[in-house]
């Protein structure tokens, strides 16, 4: 039975259809989950897609974290359900306290849209299970606030617990320790700035994102 992935839509989200398309192309089912919903309808995994939830007003994710759907996601995550936040979704997860740290404006204070090289830092997460650490992937980034930051203690924790999931090979935004993605202590909640759904079609130049989304689907097999 195919995994069912819920893709969360806030007003201002804009990558929701892209995630749905890429997940379906990998054989999974995908459905949109409206931000007012307080129930996830029994999905096997949740993706918070990129975009500008609530216009990124105040700061990215600052308003979205109060949406009813976030309470449902927190419960789902606490029960071990796989949750991935991509770009704006990562920002929402940090604002909601489901992931540590914060995303600040890029070094250089400019928006960056380009395909970058990533290195898988751990295979112990729902997004990288079965992917050998050290694997290099070409995946696009697209953000203004993608510069990951956290205090020294958190950073030490992330390193010591092997919770840095992805690193940039050539850091495009100034992120501390070249971090492109991290996970929670349970390893079932992952946030990353790059967009794996944009690297799933050979016509678009890279299919490396399939590795990550496939791992997520593998971790989401319905029971």
């Amino acid at each position: 039975m195919a995994a069912r992935v819920g893709v969360v839509v806030f007003p201002g989200s804009n990558c929701e259809h892209d995630v749905v398309q890429s997940v379906r192309a990998l054989g999974a089912e995908a459905e949109l989950v409206w931000h007012h919903q307080d129930d996830l309808g029994g999905v096997d995994a949740v993706v918070l897609p990129g975009g500008f939830a609530h216009g990124d007003y105040l700061r990215p994710g600052a308003i979205a974290r109060f949406a009813p759907v976030l309470e449902a996601i927190a419960r789902f995550a606490a029960d071990g359900g796989p949750v991935v936040g991509i770009c704006n979704g990562f920002q929402v997860l940090t604002e909601a306290g489901l992931l540590p740290g914060a995303l600040q404006k890029n070094r250089g204070l400019r928006f960056v849209c380009e395909t970058v090289e990533l290195e898988v830092a751990t295979d112990r997460s729902v997004l990288t299970g079965g992917v050998a650490p050290g694997t290099r992937l070409r995946v696009p980034v697209n953000h203004f606030e993608g510069n990951y930051t956290c205090d020294a203690r958190t950073l030490a924790e992330l390193r010591d617990d092997d919770r840095v999931v992805l690193r940039y090979v050539d850091n495009p935004n100034g992120s501390v320790d070249d971090i492109a993605g991290v996970c929670n202590a349970g390893r079932n909640v992952v946030g990353l700035m790059p967009h794996p759904e944009r690297a799933c079609d050979p016509l678009l130049g890279s299919t490396d994102g399939r590795v990550l989304l496939s791992a997520l689907l593998g971790a989401s097999v319905p029971c």
Partner: protein
């Protein structure tokens, strides 16, 4: 800086393009009707030189002239004053000052009086002033635009609607439009550019189409000047901030630096959307009894007089004048627009609206009068029902405000609750502000502005008179008197460069500094993004039937050439745009244009415009390309100097089968580098080949400051053969029929910077060297002779055979490979050094001054 012969070029006056994909075509500058289009503001015109605060009618103390049938004014309404009969001479004078202050000429006032059969009141005057502005009415250009070909078998909607619409096949249509937002961007670059994007997106989704791509041709002065860098930074930030947030990828454009734009930058924006053919909707009201619902943002005082203040006059050049106009620039809210897009597309998908129209230039008066006029009906507008951003707004302010992110939907009373429900879900505000009314006994639909439904009538005018019956001007034309001398002053007499390598490197510039700030990948459609000859997109979007087809989009312009010969220069821009889409395997099917010109009251400018239109028409006819939309931006001048004529052409191409990536601008080690050439042979002495013309070339203008000479000739029949050849060769490859070893490793047209720049770009983009011969001197290296394409192929004989069949000249220039760029005896440079020059050009110009970047 017209005719700025001998102007000193900036250290690195780069013109580059980050072209991208797109699809479909645009609309608007109608040759057939008064395209009273309120777009988000471009440059329009207006005669009476409006003073910066001319839109404040209170300045013309007192009430207006009353007329026989003038509607009663609401008490205390300063604008709708219906002064009692028997006005004093002083009142007459005040009324006279009023229409002039609003930008109407005495003759136009007389026409208004003839239409109404009485004197207009002040509110009515304000309505006519904005609707009859150059920006909304195209009154100076319409007589010329009629000469453009607009028909074609794929054209579903031509000029005159919110956007042009082209049938792309598989039940899918493409909507396309281009606009300028020049003067707002000159004054407030970030908001000016941002609202330019917002305005054109509304034009596209008004047609029922989901916007899927934006392109931005940008023109600035010398970036060595701090003010120009401020403009570049602000405009790019505005496009990036709005476009990325609203969620529409920006897939290409152009960036040109030239002193001609120092006082008046150009910010054009093209948008393309896709829709199922059966969802096509038009901006018209019908069904008396239906209601007009205002969707989206509240109405404030921002942007009042945008069309008449900004778009209707040039910049005088006096200190502070531009800053004084800043309050007339609208402010954009991409989050509001994003919700508005989703709500409107849902309403259209559910067929809950009868007609829909965006609010742009001239705001509510334009949207209501245009929808009513198109539907042959009238409309009552309750000005008190319009949600306002601030208290104390006068009716004329509410009617003419250009507050952004608003749409007007015509809805049946039965569907109104469902419309409100959809909008509530998307957090989009709704207000019933109007009712569709029957035409009167003579079949005339009236636009009436009411102080509450059933309340006093503040204005009552025939709707069509506002939108379709603006005066038409046959302005005087005059060929510039200095033109013959300029044409005779040929750059062929300039001394050859001491170092062609140095000149070549100075002409290279990677535009990624600009486009990496734009989301160019959203929607998973971008097969070839910015930086190529054209952008290539999959023909796909949520809700569309599946398709293997693709779309290609390119914008092009050639102001250097147009300043010397606007007719052939414009034809060349059409030719280049069409060739660019062909380089990606697409058949060009339609064009849109954005005509950026100077002051139409200068006969030389009107001559340039007229010539440009003729050149565009010639090229479009020869290449079989209908013009499905356009925009005219006049009064691009500062301190009395007009910009060089800058018609920008957007070309839409269709790819029948998009299964593999196009070869792009690339070289492969060991393959041959071939020139396909369909241009006329340069004329020399009898029996000899002449030297190609350097007139209007980037080398002459940017490296030598020489802006004169006779540009190369353009052979449109040969160009059409070249387009057919290249599109056919590349199409086979992108359809996946190229075989195991593709026939083409790279394709690139020869344009700005000539053969030298085109060869160098192939090398720097692929990191592969090239050794090419057949380049005798700097004319061969830098001349911009049209109708040429470079191809890198492992099987040159095969390409040669196809070229022979097509009647296109074929020359093997050399071989790709190694780590140097070697061009005849003229250029020899390591690829790495060329790459460094290419990559470093824009950062050196624009980042060096930026706030800390690490």
């Amino acid at each position: 800086m017209r005719a700025a012969s001998g102007a000193v070029p900036s250290r690195n006056c780069a013109k580059e393009r980050h072209r991208a994909v797109a699809k479909r075509s645009g609309r608007d500058q109608s040759g057939t009707r008064a395209a009273g289009r309120p777009a988000a503001c471009s440059i329009g015109a207006m005669e009476a030189a409006a003073s910066p605060d001319a839109h404040e009618p209170e300045a013309a103390s007192g009430g207006g002239r009353s007329g026989r049938n003038a509607p009663a004014a609401a008490a205390g309404d300063a604008i709708a004053g219906d002064a009692a009969p028997g006005m004093t001479a002083g009142d007459e004078l005040a009324a006279l000052a009023m229409h002039r202050a609003l930008g109407l000429t005495d003759g136009e006032l007389a026409e208004v009086e003839q239409v109404l059969g009485r004197h207009p009141n002040h509110l009515e005057l304000a309505l006519y002033a904005v609707m009859w502005s150059e920006h909304c009415s195209y009154k100076s250009s319409r007589v010329h635009l009629r000469r453009l070909p607009t028909e074609g078998e794929r054209v579903l909607v031509g000029p005159g609607e919110n956007a042009g619409v082209v049938d792309a096949g598989d039940g899918i249509a493409v909507a396309i439009r281009i606009e300028s937002h020049n003067h707002p961007s000159a004054i407030e670059p970030t908001q000016g550019a941002a609202t330019g994007v917002g305005g054109i997106l509304r034009d596209i989704f008004t047609m029922g189409a989901r916007p899927i791509a934006v392109m931005d041709p940008l023109f600035f002065g010398d970036p060595e000047e701090a003010h120009q860098r401020w403009l570049v930074e602000g405009v790019v930030a505005g496009i990036s901030g709005y476009g990325n947030s609203v969620g529409v990828p920006t897939v290409g454009g152009e960036l040109t630096f030239d002193p001609t734009y120092a006082g008046n930058p150009l910010v054009n924006v093209l948008c393309m959307g896709v829709l199922p053919v059966d969802r096509l909707v038009l901006g018209r009201a019908s069904g008396p009894g239906n209601v007009a619902v205002l969707l989206g943002s509240t109405t404030g005082r921002d942007g009042i007089g945008g069309v008449s203040v900004l778009a209707s006059a040039g910049f005088g050049g006096e200190d502070g004048a531009a800053a004084a106009k800043r309050p007339s620039v609208q402010v954009g809210d991409p989050y509001e627009e994003k919700r508005l897009i989703e709500a409107c597309l849902e309403l259209l998908e559910a067929k809950l609206v009868v007609g829909i129209q965006d609010l742009g230039g001239a705001g509510l008066v334009c949207a209501t009068s245009e929808t009513a006029a198109r539907g042959g009906v009238g409309m009552d507008v309750d000005v008190t029902a319009v949600p306002r951003r601030e208290p104390g707004m006068e009716p004329y302010e509410v009617m003419t405000s250009e507050s952004q992110e608003r749409m007007l939907a015509i809805v049946t009373p039965e569907d109104l609750p469902r419309v409100e429900e959809v909008c509530r879900r998307w957090e989009v505000r709704t207000a019933v502000v109007g009712r569709v009314t029957e035409p009167d006994g003579s079949g005339v639909g009236h636009l009436r502005v009411l102080d509450g439904f059933g309340g006093a009538v503040l204005a009552d005018v025939p709707a069509r008179s506002l939108s379709d019956e603006a005066p038409l001007y046959h302005r005087p034309l005059a060929r510039p008197t200095d033109l013959d001398a300029r044409l005779a002053d040929d750059p062929g007499a300039l001394p050859a460069p001491a170092s062609c390598t140095e000149d070549l490197l100075a002409l290279l510039a990677d535009p990624s500094w600009v486009y990496r700030q734009y989301d160019h990948q959203l929607f998973l459609n971008t097969v070839e993004g910015p930086g190529g000859d054209a952008a290539v997109l999959k023909l796909a979007a949520p809700g569309l039937p599946p398709s293997d087809r693709g779309l290609a989009l390119a914008t092009d312009s050639n102001p250097r050439w147009c300043s010397l010969d606007p007719r052939s220069g414009t034809a060349a821009a059409v030719a280049e745009a069409a060739l660019n889409v062909a380089c990606t395997g697409a058949r060009p099917v339609a064009v849109v244009n954005c005509c950026n010109f100077g002051n139409p009251e200068h006969p030389e400018v009107m001559w340039q415009l007229s010539e440009a239109i003729d050149g565009m028409a010639e090229a479009c006819l020869a290449l079989g390309l209908p013009v499905v939309g356009g925009n005219v931006s006049l009064y691009n001048e500062s301190a009395g100097a007009d910009i060089d004529p800058t018609p920008v052409i957007g070309a839409l191409g269709l790819v029948d089968e998009l299964r593999a990536r196009p070869p792009g601008i690339s070289l492969r080690e060991g393959s041959s580098v071939v020139l396909l050439d369909a241009g006329p042979e340069p004329e020399g002495a009898p029996g000899t080949r002449g030297r190609p013309s350097l007139a209007g070339s980037r080398w002459a203008v940017e490296r030598r400051g020489h802006r004169n000479g006779t540009p190369p000739r353009l052979d449109l029949a040969g160009h059409a053969r070249l387009i057919g050849l290249v599109a056919g060769l590349v199409a086979e490859q992108v359809a996946g029929r190229g075989g195991d070893v593709p026939l083409l490793d790279g394709v690139h047209d020869v344009s700005g910077g000539g053969l030298g720049v085109a060869l160098a770009e192939l090398a720097v983009r692929s990191g592969t060297g090239v050794e090419a011969g057949g380049i005798a001197d700097h004319s061969d290296l830098f001349a911009e002779t049209p109708s040429r394409v470079l191809v890198c192929t492992p099987r040159p004989a095969e390409v040669g055979a196809r070229a022979a069949e097509a009647g296109v000249r074929f020359t093997v220039l050399g071989t790709a490979g190694g780590d140097r760029v070697v061009l005849g005896d003229l250029v020899d440079v390591p690829v790495a050094e060329a790459q460094a020059a290419w990559r470093g050009a824009l950062p050196a110009l624009l980042d060096e001054w930026a706030p800390a970047s690490s």
